[in-house]
Symmetry: D3
Subunit: 158 residues, 6 copies
């Protein structure tokens, strides 16, 4: 382990760490991402939803599908059989707040799956609205909570 980074061995080389000795337990993680945008942009996306536009559905589905691709995107992630994924998008003034949760019964946690789902949901919203608002910013991509596994539960304070 180099510099306390578990994903590097004693020579500093990247490897996929051994989780073969860990128990397969129920694990869950929740992550958040925020898309800051002009009020008109938030309105266009949310309002689209009210008029049955697909904008929010496209973004939610992109996030769910991305959760399943996490091990293909993040080089040292283990492939995990997800048992549940959910993505919620709420409009709050000048921001869209995305909350993604992922669950598995496996040997390693699903933080990266939840974070990847939240990030890709935000990127997809950006893609759909970029023609009207190029200055949008994705911010506050963070782990909200995590349960299950030996390292203990975690809950972000704010």
């Amino acid at each position: 382990m180099a510099n306390g980074l578990t994903h590097l061995n004693e020579r500093g080389e990247a490897h996929m760490v051994d989780v073969g000795g860990k128990d397969a337990t129920r694990r869950r993680a929740v992550a958040r991402a925020v898309l800051e945008a002009q009020p008109e942009t938030v309105e266009a996306i949310i309002g689209g939803a009210l008029k049955k536009g697909d904008a929010l559905a496209v973004a939610r589905i992109a996030g769910i599908m991305a959760a399943k691709k996490t091990a293909d995107l993040i080089p040292l992630c283990h492939p995990i059989p997800l048992t549940k994924v959910e993505v919620e998008i709420i409009g709050e003034g000048v921001a869209l707040v995305i909350t993604a949760s992922a669950e598995t019964t496996g040997q390693t946690g699903v933080e990266m799956e939840a974070l990847t789902a939240a990030s890709v949901t935000a990127l997809t919203l950006y893609d759909m609205a970029k023609a009207i608002d190029r200055g949008m910013t994705i911010t506050n991509v963070q782990l909200v909570e995590k349960t299950g596994g030996k390292s203990g539960d975690y809950r972000r304070e704010s």
Copy 2:
């Protein structure tokens, strides 16, 4: 087009917009993402690099490979033959600043490719350091500049 969102048709239904009539021109985009972390975490990642650890290389490569998967991740993105991708990571105190650039000669822009590269680079750094610092936040994911294409050049002000 519903609510000004080009990716929805007049019935609000998502579609991949027609770019067949656009010229194939040289296009470039630069995006940024910032990973805020404890000073010790930034030091572990950057210091690992000084000692030839793979941490930064893993993250850069994840970003480059993710740029190539953009059309597979973002539902309404067109597949684009990227001609160049570059990812740079700089440590600045309590943050790692990621800059990703992408280029193509094609009928549509590469903003999403650059943003996806920056996001996945940040997620990969998070993955490698999460055992020592679960509170890291990815922030400031935004388009820095964009050139080429009919909609004109763009450069973020700050």
Copy 3:
């Protein structure tokens, strides 16, 4: 060419045929698929849409994304830079009628992309409704029309 099948060489071996000498022209294809189901199932899916449920959006997006994966699914298909994809779903009594269109400017046609989009849209509708109606049947998966390319235009008669 064995038995008139262009995808097999004179020894009967599969190969990806040479399209390098063909012109890159504007090409378009439209395909159809029909999902036959109980009236209550059609109502649940379409009615869900009326109440802003995501069912139709999920299926449309699955079809669009599948079009982009065609060369990864169909072994001898050439990778094609799609310039447009659109999927439409209409409820008609005991059936949902799916129409998918795809376009490119390239050296080979997009029939398989349109057919793949229509098929995967139908499979996704099946997936969402299978808990209430296992007897659904996907039928009439066929090419409706095709334009562009040297082999000439095609339009299905009925």
Copy 4:
């Protein structure tokens, strides 16, 4: 659950349903697809096989590989570790009849894997023969039988 569709929550939003509480049991599904074609087309494909042409092998392998991609194609499908996949193609006059079976030991069924395998096998046959017969139709894509899991066994009547 909206309109009885398990894949939508009470707000009508798509999610990947929670199967974490279900038992991992042996599950099996069989699906069918039929490719209707001109007699000469069926003969070209089947005859190719007699002369050691690869046509049927290409289609069978495409179906097997597609079964493994099901969760990547169908947005709300859970990733499943398939333990067996088999695809059979039989020529019957003006039709090729495809039967695909899939098995797993897991928390959810494999109907979609069998149906996806059958569909992609049919699409691959279409691709190989489309230069000689554009009017082919894929029909009768349906679940033949399903065993294992709490929802009980199913066997299609005809």
Copy 5:
């Protein structure tokens, strides 16, 4: 460029090199791989082919499909629209000799596509025969020839 390696910049960091200024020309590459095996193993594979077994077809198709995945496998490869791929397998005593060719009209060469096709064909043959011969060796994976592009033609001497 570090140490003459074009894929590393002056700081030694990996990047996808800029090919945007290169001409799109016709390019072709041929690669080879050899699978050394027990005579009985070679016989089982080739003999299977004589009896219409799928062994060679499976391996050829795996190679063709792998060529299309090259940019997804090799981190710094550019995505390339392949216009032709062909894989040939010949049994020679205690070896199976694989020859793979790839073509494109693009801004960069297809050596890696041909080499990837040859390698994956060999790995697939290994997979099918490993239950009867675990000691097989893949050897002589090399570029046979390359035409097109500014760096000039290449033809391996032996």
Copy 6:
């Protein structure tokens, strides 16, 4: 089973063999590949590493990520939840020696995962050095050892 090849059924048709009845046990495999190159090429790659160039890291990561794609590349491989992957590259005069190991707790072995990781690592090194040395050869791709599973342990003699 045709000709002793387990992956073909009695009619010679390819199928993904049934492993549903096998126990999920701890399994491990180690594979090797050698890249023969000019001494200057080996020096450029290894020396780059000494100067913190990314060459070896890129290749190691490509190998690790390829291990996770094995079931997508090798048509009849079962999808396997890898619990560990490691790739080591050592320079020895005119060769780079790659050793890849893979582990799982599953119903089938991980030989193909280890062999795929070693092969793709070698192909990636080839890609990065091909501009200075087109004559490189990948050789000695072979299984070094295998433990776990009913077929018994295996260790290559030399």
